[in-house]
């Protein structure tokens, strides 16, 4: 063999080994670190509050990630079971990531807002009381420990969450007021699981529940906002592209790719109703047309907002207006 010398020179051999193992490392690990597209940051996903960050640290301390994943895969049954699949921007503030690798218990990526706080207090204190076949350990003792906030300000600084020590103190005080107030909606259950001496304090369990309620919440809120604003816009606003020739032409392209198969050539009708008319089935204002295309309608019209986005939906509406003119 020509390279026999390599097996006689240990230092050279070690250098060669590092070089060989570095190729895959560079391509799959090192380079992605510097591609912004690998870890996008969205203004819609907020960093954790001081209490949520502390709750997350308790989640890590107790090794919850050993049994619970936090990543919903883009598969039909997973989306049905847990909710929308996980997006990269959702973990932008997660150091470390907590996707897990094993589901002895269910995925938690979309847990936030699913149950009231009271449910979590009760479940964490005694899982078997709620699900007799569950094999989750009880974490009742978290309610018996006062949350240690000595390092909180330092933690959020290191994590780069963008707020300072004064804000940390304010958040802690506000949270404490909220969970200890008699008006707190889960007050009754909280007082059942929290020892009397700690009822006026933030417990580790309080922080854990705050963290669990944060999971997936921003994404759900963002999606609701987008959907809500789209509907609201439809109800109030006119087509921003009204009268634009370019928009109509782009709309024609969009129509051919997405709408023609049902609504026919030039909107003459097919499976779906005729569009080259001014009397549309679900209303004929700009807003009505936008709502039909964006959100879909019962009886077979699917929602196109997720795949087209607002802009292109409006352009499609522009083209429908042209079809109306031409059909007259």
């Amino acid at each position: 063999m020509r390279f026999d010398g390599l097996y006689e020179k240990p230092v050279l051999f070690a250098i060669a080994a590092v070089a060989v193992l570095s190729v895959g490392t560079l391509v799959t690990t090192f380079i992605p670190l510097f591609l912004p597209s690998t870890q996008p940051v969205s203004p819609l996903i907020r960093p954790y509050t001081a209490v949520e960050a502390e709750g997350r640290d308790i989640y890590i301390r107790e090794g919850c990630n050993n049994c619970h994943t936090q990543t919903v895969r883009p598969m039909r049954t997973e989306v049905a079971r847990y909710g929308d699949y996980s997006k990269p921007e959702e973990s932008a503030w997660d150091r470390p990531f907590l996707w897990g690798s094993r589901r002895t218990g269910p995925d938690l990526a979309r847990l936030g807002g699913k149950y009231p706080d009271a449910w979590h207090y009760r479940h964490m204190a005694n899982p078997q009381a709620m699900f007799d076949r569950s094999n989750m350990p009880a974490y009742a003792w978290l309610a018996k420990s006062k949350l240690d906030t000595a390092l909180t300000a330092r933690k959020v600084t290191i994590l780069g969450y963008g707020y300072d020590g004064a804000e940390v103190a304010r958040q802690l005080a506000t949270f404490r007021q909220t969970v200890t107030a008699p008006a707190y909606p889960s007050a009754r259950v909280r007082s059942q699981v929290t020892p009397a001496a700690l009822q006026g304090e933030i417990t580790e369990l309080d922080a854990m529940v705050a963290y669990l309620q944060k999971l997936g919440r921003d994404l759900k809120a963002a999606q609701a906002t987008v959907a809500g604003s789209a509907t609201a816009e439809a109800a109030e606003t006119k087509n921003p592209y009204a009268g634009s020739r370019e928009a109509e032409e782009e709309g024609e392209k969009i129509f051919k790719e997405n709408c023609r198969s049902c609504h026919g050539e030039k909107g003459a009708g097919g499976f779906g109703p005729k569009l080259s008319t001014t009397a549309h089935k679900f209303g004929s204002s700009d807003g009505d047309l936008f709502s039909s295309v964006a959100g879909g309608r019962p009886g077979g019209m699917p929602s196109f907002l997720p795949q087209l986005g607002k802009d292109r939906v409006w352009k499609a509406v522009s083209y429908i207006r042209r079809l109306e003119r031409e059909g007259r």
Partner: protein, 473 residues
């Protein structure tokens, strides 16, 4: 050869440490297996599943496997270079520091001090100790190789060097963190990047700890205990370089269908499938070595361990790559199938090879016969049956679990809620616990047998005859 005896005591020290941590790690594993069936066994915070599981994995990866690797590597280094260790004092310090570090690691994990990154949960002060231990190990490996009296480096030495350099690279890069206090730190990477770096580490730490050095042992101890030369040197070369090249691309196969960029997942999938080739090059090299001498499976108690071990490695390296295929990952990932896969690798391949290697080393070091071949055979059958019971059960459990998660009614709704799938696991977990008990019994027999073989018996052998044996070996 004045240092011969001294290094023997280091080898013996690491071997016995290894077996000690093996018993501890397996004991905790049994407790965990029982906790899955009886949640009431989560008696205290430090005994809760989430904390205990990391003590189990770290105890077996760092306590048992690493100590076994240190023991066998030092032994093989001296034999294959016909040179005593370059720094025997350093090796002795390493032995002490290692056991202190593992004990501290276990205590800190019990206390809930962990970074949550799988297989690298230790907090930053212990990470620094691990790096120090690794530098000590690397100094002896490279130092002894430079000083060696044998011109060519045998294949086992390549794999040891491969282990040294890969662990050094992956461990340091993955564990970069910013400390908050002595017991708390945050990863320097966030979200997707953290996940990608972590599984690049996770997969390759497994490669460099559970594959390279174990292959080194296989390539050395199989020929030594059978007297048969390895079938093909050329195949060994191909196996080594393609393994070390291909391995580092595949970490993201643990992240199939996650928010990690799809191109990284696809590259990981492609290279995972590619890895079948170098893995099976070693498997076939082992099988062909036995060609025409299969009767040794009966006559030589060690051969059984090596051949079954490499067979499990072969099964493992078919399972691993196929699990990377998206459709299979979609069905099996996150289910019991994956612990089944990992457990066959560690209970079958790693433990079989390490225990047989230790039997061989101990008889050479002490110059005595093994305490009892009968017990070694009992050990073999107990861990074989125990392992198969545990792992095959988990595979079936995982397939059932995945199917239940995916089952839908004609109207598209889900057929089972999550708890139905939990309830379906209890019988499987029970069988797995029984398998684990058998396995533990086998390892207890091993520990006893090895201890009896390695017991110092003053006066049975003079240092001179020992040194002569050392030269001859």
């Amino acid at each position: 050869m004045a240092n011969g005896a001294r290094s023997d005591s280091i080898v013996r020290g690491f071997a016995l440490s290894s077996v000690f941590w093996l018993l501890v790690g397996l004991g905790i594993g049994l407790w965990l297996a029982a906790e899955m069936i009886y949640p009431a066994l989560n008696l205290a915070p430090w005994l809760a599943f989430g904390r205990l599981r990391v003590v189990h994995t770290n105890g077996l990866i760092f306590g048992f496997t690493l100590a076994g690797i240190f023991a066998c590597s030092f032994y093989m280094l001296e034999k294959l270079t016909r040179t005593p260790l370059a720094f025997p004092g350093l090796a002795k310090a390493q032995l002490w520091l290692f056991n202190i570090a593992i004990a501290l690691a276990a205590l800190s994990l019990f206390a809930g001090l962990n970074t949550s990154k799988e297989y690298s949960e230790l907090e930053w002060p212990l990470d620094i100790v691990v790096v120090a231990l690794w530098v000590m190990f690397a100094a002896n490996v490279m130092g002894t190789l430079v000083k060696r009296r044998e011109k060519q480096m045998y294949v086992s030495l390549w794999f040891i060097v491969g282990c040294v350099v890969t662990v050094a690279v992956v461990y340091i890069l993955n564990n970069l963190a910013v400390p908050v206090s002595l017991t708390k730190s945050y990863s320097v990477y966030a979200g997707v990047n953290d996940a990608n770096v972590q599984w690049w580490f996770g997969h390759n730490a497994v490669a460099s700890v559970f594959t390279f050095p174990i292959l080194a042992m296989f390539y050395y101890f199989l020929p030594k205990s059978t007297g048969l030369p390895i079938y093909s040197h050329r195949l060994s070369i191909i196996a080594f370089w393609s393994l070390i090249f291909g391995y580092l691309w595949t970490g993201a196969h643990h992240l199939m269908l996650t928010p990690v960029p799809e191109w990284i997942q696809t590259v990981a999938l492609a290279f995972s499938l590619f890895l079948i080739a170098p893995s099976w090059a070693s498997v076939l090299n082992g099988f062909y070595t036995m060609n025409g001498n299969w009767d040794k499976m009966k006559s030589n108690y060690l051969v059984k361990f090596f051949i079954l071990g490499i067979t499990f490695y072969g099964l493992q390296t078919i399972q691993g790559p196929t699990q990377a295929i998206r459709a299979l990952s979609g069905h099996l990932h996150f289910t019991e199938y994956i612990p089944g896969h990992v457990h066959m690798g560690t209970m079958g391949w790693v433990t079989m090879i390490i225990s047989a290697s230790m039997y061989f080393m101990m008889t050479k070091i002490t110059g005595r016969e093994i305490h009892s071949v009968k017990l070694a055979n009992l050990h073999f059958w107990l861990i074989l049956v125990g392992q198969l019971m545990s792992t095959a059960t988990l595979w079936i459990a995982g397939i059932v679990q995945g199917a239940m998660w995916k089952a839908t009614n004609p109207d598209g709704s889900l057929m089972y809620n999550f708890l139905d799938s939990v309830a379906a696991m209890y019988p499987f977990w029970a069988v797995r616990l029984v398998g684990g008990l058998l396995y533990f019994a086998g390892i207890a027999v091993f520990a006893y047998n090895l201890y009896m073989t390695s017991r110092p018996m003053p006066g049975t052998e003079s240092p001179a005859s020992k040194a002569a044996k050392f030269q001859a070996a």
